[in-house]
């Protein structure tokens, strides 16, 4: 995996779902700089260059983090909380992409500063539409401030 130029960080415990997301993004050529991790702990290690990612440069941040809600070890909410409470990662857009349409999940996500909350459609057609829309918007339409390195 190319750790140097990651644009999308996909955190998803379901291999199948991850494959469907990646396939949909690949169709519009946005899956090249994507890294898929399987739980929140891995995601946090990656972002803060710890554990198995201890050699990584912190300066290189993804343009988008796509989080699943329910994951083993560290779940989506906890991951989101850690991302949004750290100066270095606070400004990275995070999209919650989950099967849960629960009001309270939505509420706590937005309270913690989620940038977008997407309920995964069950039908594949709609699912593809949602993922492509999301990719196009956050990577191509949306503009971000210069991500200055907060770390000295």
């Amino acid at each position: 995996m190319n750790n140097q130029e990651v644009e999308i960080l996909l955190v998803e415990d379901s291999q199948d779902d991850a494959e469907l997301v990646i396939r949909a993004l690949r169709k519009i050529n946005l899956a090249n700089k994507l890294i898929h991790l399987e739980d929140g702990q891995q995601a946090l290690d990656f972002l803060f260059a710890e554990g198995m990612f201890s050699g990584r440069k912190l300066m290189e941040r993804p343009k988008l983090i796509v989080l699943d809600l329910k994951m083993p070890r560290v779940d989506g909410i906890e991951t989101l909380k850690r991302i949004k409470s750290d100066e270095r990662t606070r400004l990275i857009p995070v999209v919650m992409m989950t099967s849960s349409a629960e009001e309270k999940d939505m509420l706590i996500s937005y309270q913690l500063g989620i940038n977008s909350y997407v309920v995964k459609p069950v039908g594949f057609e709609n699912f593809v539409k949602a993922v492509t829309g999301l990719g196009i918007y956050w990577l191509l339409v949306n503009t971000l401030p210069e991500l200055n390195d907060g770390e000295s």
């Binding site: 199948d16 779902d17 809600l69 099967s99 849960s100 349409a101 069950v122 039908g123 594949f124």
Partner: protein
């Protein structure tokens, strides 16, 4: 009139009932004591009055008897002195014509002797033919009395000697004493004495000492012609005096003052004696007695009221305490208890009350504990259910997505290698996965219904129904459906949930009337006594009413999937929403003739 009387009586009784016991008992005792005091006072007053009158009468009687006797005695002395003079030989001789010097001197001397004091104004001696023979009177005084008139009127018998009637001349009163001079059984002459009826001051003082200051003595002729109070003439008393016995009278003297009087004839004279007592004096005792009775009665009533007040307070105070405690308890404070310091009925009541409080408190605590337990159990169950639906929504959907996703990928990537049948089967996989996703969604929203809190607010039902209908009809060909929405009142409810109700019912109406060439949907309102009743009517396929009861169950359908799409959860959801609003739903339908769904919601009081 009779109505008014009974109403007034009832009002009185009511008034008495309104009074508290603490006021009622003293009032009762006050009335009782007052009645007793008045009755006893009246009775004893009457008794005392009668006794006073009796005593006064007794005293009057004895006084009149005594005085009349005294008068009689003095009269008899006068008479005997006169008789002795008349029987004197020299008087007889003088009358018979023997007027020798010695006889004449003696007779003159005898006549002079009969004028004992200044009240005796005249003594005269007459012969049988009433010719004046001899006269003795104080020198230089003339009198207007006329003895001859009396002699003619009386015509005394032999040996007689009598006191005559009182005679009024000017302001003075006189009386004569007439005696016959008798010789050998024949009347040979007459002696007449006149006396001024005037008591000396000493005598008056003596009499008043005997009578008492308020009593007055009167003497008069028994025929009532002349009366005197021993000082001067007075008007005759308004009574008729019997000659032979003592009598009592009550009359008014001198205009206003009532008197009690006793009269009695005086022996040896044609006179009567009368003593008057003012009634006021007699009643003085009974009046004083009445004052005492009133005073004692008032004191007794006051004392009685005080005693009754204390007693009733003694009873009502613990009762009030109990009432306060009971009121507190009624308001939900079960920690109350009443102090018990007495062993009587009230004490028992208080103890029973306390025991009851403890039992109620225990029962209440027990109930609260049970409710808490149940609530906790319920909360746990709800949490479990939430967790269940959460994992259902998350975990069941993920594999479904994979199924439909990979089937789609299969179709996309291997389209050229799959034949038509394989493509059809892949489509079936995809559509079934989609349906299952829908099912899961519906099931979750249905199960979440009971957990959600209702946001009650006034809802404009007409606007809501119109908006749902237009939203549902926007995908239908224009003018295919004839829609009619009647005016409807506002109701109270959760707008989002009621929107779901309209959405499902109107959606059903559209769906089931879609095969009618001229589908018509009517939305309206029917006024009912206790609830607001709304309805949605269509002219669609309808159904047989014998399956009507199945309509509102979860996953119950009356039509095949290939006839009309649907999962069979919409009406169950509608029923659940309405039940949560304390409303209900019913249906009228016939196969091929359409259906009417009625649903009712509790009325808002402000609107009708």
């Amino acid at each position: 009139m009779a109505m008014n009387v009974t109403a007034a009586a009832r009002k009185k009784i009511l008034f008495f009932r309104v009074l508290s016991i603490q006021q009622r008992l003293p009032l009762l005792i006050c009335v009782l004591l007052l009645c007793m005091a008045v009755a006893l006072g009246w009775l004893s007053q009457v008794g005392v009055k009668r006794a006073s009158v009796d005593m006064a009468k007794e005293r009057l009687g004895s006084l009149t008897a005594q005085l009349s006797y005294l008068f009689g005695q003095s009269g008899s002395l006068v008479l005997s002195a006169t008789s002795a003079t008349v029987d004197n030989e020299n008087i007889k001789k003088f009358v018979n014509g023997d007027r020798a010097g010695i006889v004449a001197d003696s007779a003159r001397q005898l006549l002079d002797n009969l004028r004992i004091d200044s009240t005796w104004i005249l003594t005269e001696l007459f012969d049988a033919r009433h010719q004046l023979l001899l006269r003795s009177s104080p020198p230089g005084k003339t009198t207007k009395v006329n003895s001859r008139e009396i002699l003619s009127a009386v015509n005394p018998a032999p040996h007689s000697c009598q006191i005559g009637k009182l005679l009024r001349i000017g302001d003075s009163i006189y009386y004569p004493i007439i005696a016959a001079v008798t010789d050998k059984g024949n009347v040979t002459g007459y002696l007449a004495r006149w006396r001024l009826q005037a008591a000396t001051l000493k005598a008056i003082a003596q009499v008043s000492l005997l009578l008492g200051t308020n009593a007055t003595l009167y003497v008069g002729n028994s025929d009532g012609s002349v009366w005197t109070n021993l000082i001067g003439p007075v008007p005759a008393p308004p009574v008729t005096i019997q000659y032979d016995k003592q009598d009592f009278f009550e009359y008014e003297r001198q205009g206003d003052s009532a008197v009690l009087a006793s009269a009695m004839p005086i022996p040896n004279a044609p006179w009567s004696l009368l003593i008057e007592f003012p009634r006021g004096m007699i009643m003085e005792t009974s009046r004083r007695f009445l004052h005492w009775i009133i005073g004692i009665g008032a004191a007794l009533v006051l004392f009685g009221i005080l005693l009754a007040w204390i007693t009733s307070r003694n009873i009502t105070r613990p009762l009030n305490k109990l009432t306060r405690a009971a009121t507190k308890m009624a308001a939900g404070d079960y920690s109350v208890s009443v102090e018990v310091e007495r062993g009587d009925e009230l004490g028992k009541l208080a103890r029973a009350f306390n025991a009851m409080t403890v039992r109620v408190k225990n029962a209440q605590d027990d109930l609260e504990r049970k409710v808490q337990e149940r609530t906790m159990q319920l909360n746990t169950a709800n949490k479990e259910l939430e967790g269940f639906s959460y994992s259902v929504s998350h975990d069941l959907r993920a594999p479904l997505r994979s199924i439909s996703g990979f089937a789609a990928i299969l179709k996309e990537d291997y389209a050229s290698k799959l034949d038509a049948e394989a493509n059809r089967l892949a489509d079936k996989i995809i559509s079934n996965a989609k349906k299952m996703g829908q099912l899961i969604d519906d099931l979750i929203s249905f199960s979440q219904m009971s957990g959600k809190e209702l946001k009650q607010q006034p809802v404009n039902m007409e606007a809501l129904a119109k908006s749902c209908a237009s939203e549902l009809l926007q995908h239908e060909p224009e003018n295919k459906y004839q829609l009619q929405v009647q005016p409807m009142p506002v109701c109270l409810g959760d707008e989002a949930l009621l929107r779901q109700v309209w959405f499902n019912l109107i959606g059903n109406a559209i769906k089931y009337s879609s095969k009618n060439p001229a589908p018509r949907i009517e939305i309206g309102y029917k006024k009912e006594a206790t609830a607001s009743c709304y309805f949605v009517r269509d002219n669609g396929v309808g159904f047989d009413m014998q399956y009507g009861h199945k309509l509102f169950g979860v996953f119950q359908r009356l039509h095949g999937q290939n006839e009309f799409e649907g999962l069979g959860i919409g009406l169950a959801l509608v029923k659940r929403i309405l039940n949560r609003h304390h409303g209900d739903i019913s249906v009228e339908a016939a196969l091929g003739k359409g259906a009417v769904f009625y649903f009712s919601l509790p009325k808002i009081k402000d609107h009708e």
